[in-house]
């Protein structure tokens, strides 16, 4: 097939790309899906099976356990607050990094990724050092729900910044200048021109941050106090259930988190589809 592609210079790119042949596609897709099945899919399947093997009643009983319900409520509530904070501060930070200029901007830009690079348990310990019992500035929020929001703000900080930044870089200032020359006020320009352009980016970042916040554990174990029914997030609840010898109960609650992850991934996929529809034509 490669030879025929070589003899036909007018061949269309898509056909040429296929000149590699179906056999090699099958091999490469086979290797990838085998790896992914063993590493990711089978464990997930075992989890879903475990959560349902004792029937729907047992599943509901595990999920509606008062401590599980309060952990789920706390986690979702805190995650939503954190996402709102991220939408505001993430967008402002992206704007400042792209449109503003000040000494040290590139350093600030690099520091944004710190939460991706820093182990979460270390993040928790650092927050405890500054905002815990031995706080040098006299702020002690350790073992409260405020601490949970603080830790989640730390680990989710890069998401909205990093999804909004590239959109702002691409966004032409001509549109804004035109609006301004026609007498639009600064707030109108932002509301009618900048915001609609940024919205898909903001939403993608928000969904990713939400997913991260719902599943967070490392940064919380040291600073949240993990008081059941009060400051115990759902990941810590699941960990406790496993350690107290109830893997089925843990699996039921874990499946709720798994469902949320899939829904959020679909949302990100849909947003990506929406954003690239012009490019795809």
């Amino acid at each position: 097939m490669e030879a025929s592609a070589a003899r036909a210079p007018h061949v269309r790119p898509r056909e040429a790309a296929r000149a590699g042949g179906r056999a090699s596609t099958a091999i490469s897709v086979g290797i990838i899906s085998t790896f992914l099945t063993v590493v990711v899919v089978l464990p997930i399947a075992a989890l879903v099976w475990e959560s349902h093997k004792s029937g729907a009643d047992a599943f509901w009983q595990a999920v509606s356990n008062p401590l599980a319900v309060s952990a789920l409520k706390l986690t979702f509530g805190a995650a939503f607050i954190v996402v709102l904070i991220n939408i505001v501060f993430g967008t402002v930070t992206a704007w400042v990094l792209v449109r503003d200029d000040f000494p040290g901007r590139s350093i600030v830009n690099a520091v944004i990724d710190l939460p991706f690079a820093l182990p979460t348990i270390v993040a928790g310990l650092t927050l405890l050092a500054l905002y815990g019992p031995r706080s040098p500035i006299g702020i002690d929020v350790a073992y409260t729900r405020t601490a949970i929001v603080l830790a989640l703000c730390f680990v989710t900080l890069p998401f909205v910044v990093r999804t909004v930044q590239p959109v702002l870089l691409e966004l032409d200032t001509e549109m804004e200048e035109a609006a301004r020359s026609l007498g639009a006020r600064q707030t109108t320009v932002f509301r009618r021109i900048v915001l609609p352009n940024l919205l898909p980016g903001i939403l993608s970042g928000a969904v990713l941050a939400l997913a991260r916040a719902l599943g967070e554990i490392g940064s919380l174990v040291l600073i949240a106090g993990n008081i059941p029914g009060h400051t115990q997030v759902v990941s810590v609840y699941v960990l406790n259930q496993i350690e107290s010898g109830d893997p089925s109960g843990a699996a039921a609650v874990a499946v709720v988190l798994l469902g949320a992850s899939f829904v959020l991934l679909l949302a990100v996929g849909a947003l990506r589809f929406f954003v690239t529809r012009y490019e795809r034509g």
């Binding site: 040429a16 590699g20 596609t25 490469s28 897709v29 290797i31 990838i32 899906s33 992914l36 990711v40 464990p43 075992a46 989890l47 475990e50 501060f89 402002v92 930070t93 400042v96 503003d100 690099a110 990724d113 710190l114 939460p115 991706f116 690079a117 820093l118 182990p119 979460t120 348990i121 270390v122 993040a123 310990l125 927050l127 050092a129 500054l130 603080l150 900080l157 600064q186 990713l208 997913a211 991260r212 719902l214 599943g215 554990i217 490392g218 174990v221 040291l222 759902v234 990941s235 699941v238 960990l239 496993i242 843990a250 874990a254 988190l257 798994l258 899939f262 959020l264 991934l265 990100v268």
Partner: protein, 263 residues
């Protein structure tokens, strides 16, 4: 102008409160009593062992996920097959899933009554609460990074150069080694840096499957928790500062690599 300064103050103030101040604080707290407690904690045999376990898991997970990530990116961008959407979703899953759920899934699969656990138990291989489970958990959580970095670069690259090489008689391997790989190398390296950072810092999944036996299955991150819960704060800070220094190194590498990544 005032508005601009106001926004700058808001953004920088937020970063200072959330990111920078805590980071500076941990370096300060670690060294406030001099170097001796730091050295004592880091030369503790159990701490050394914990770092060793973390490094072994990372040294296995990073190459495995690099090869997988590049293969995966090539398949997703260059080939047409059914189920591509599903493949995409499963690659991203570790990004959106709680590491504890990952740990529990492995716990159930390789546990005594699990689908695989029974077979391994019959053959006398300890997976759960031993190194293999730690490695599997580390691989799971760091699956997406290389693929996610390489996919956009490959898309932008197009395949004209490879087609040209093919018409000149280059084999599939020659095209990969001489054209594709050199063009995507910075994206691969960036992905490797992210993967390494994720592997070194893994906590939630490893907390479930490792068994946390001091000096045997404890990783560096679990060591931090262990020290903290045993009120050995200087020990916790010492281990943390090593991990934080690695994170700063990762940031420096990311900053150096990012501008080269563009095709």
């Amino acid at each position: 102008m005032a508005k601009r300064l106001g926004l700058r103050a808001v953004a920088l103030g937020y970063l200072l409160v959330i990111l920078l101040a805590p980071l500076v604080m941990i370096f300060y707290r670690t060294f406030e009593n001099g170097l001796k407690p730091v050295w004592d904690a880091l030369s503790d045999p159990n701490t050394v062992h914990a770092f060793k376990i973390t490094l072994i898991a990372t040294a296995i997970a990073v190459p495995v996920n690099t090869v997988f990530g590049v293969l995966c990116a090539l398949a997703i961008v260059r080939r047409r097959f059914r189920g591509k959407g599903l493949l995409n979703a499963f690659i991203d899953l570790p990004l959106a899933l709680s590491p504890v759920v990952v740990g529990l899934a492995l716990f159930l699969l390789y546990g005594r009554t699990g689908w695989f656990g029974t077979w391994f138990a019959d053959h006398g291989i300890q997976v759960l609460f031993a190194l293999p489970a730690i490695v599997l958990a580390t691989i799971f959580v760091s699956v997406p990074f290389v693929a996610r970095e390489v996919i956009p670069t490959l898309r932008e690259l197009g395949n004209e150069q490879e087609q040209a090489a093919a018409t000149l008689g280059a084999t599939r391997w020659q095209r990969f080694w001489r054209i594709t790989l050199p063009s995507i190398r910075w994206a691969v390296i960036y992905g490797v840096v992210l993967t390494t950072a994720r592997c070194l810092g893994e906590y939630g999944a490893v907390a479930v499957v490792s068994g946390r036996v001091e000096g045997q299955t404890e990783t560096a991150t679990l060591r931090v928790e262990d020290y903290t819960l045993n009120f050995n704060t200087s020990g916790a800070y010492a281990v943390s500062v090593v991990l934080a220094a690695t994170a700063v190194l990762v940031l420096v590498l990311m900053t150096l690599i990012k501008p080269r990544e563009a095709v």
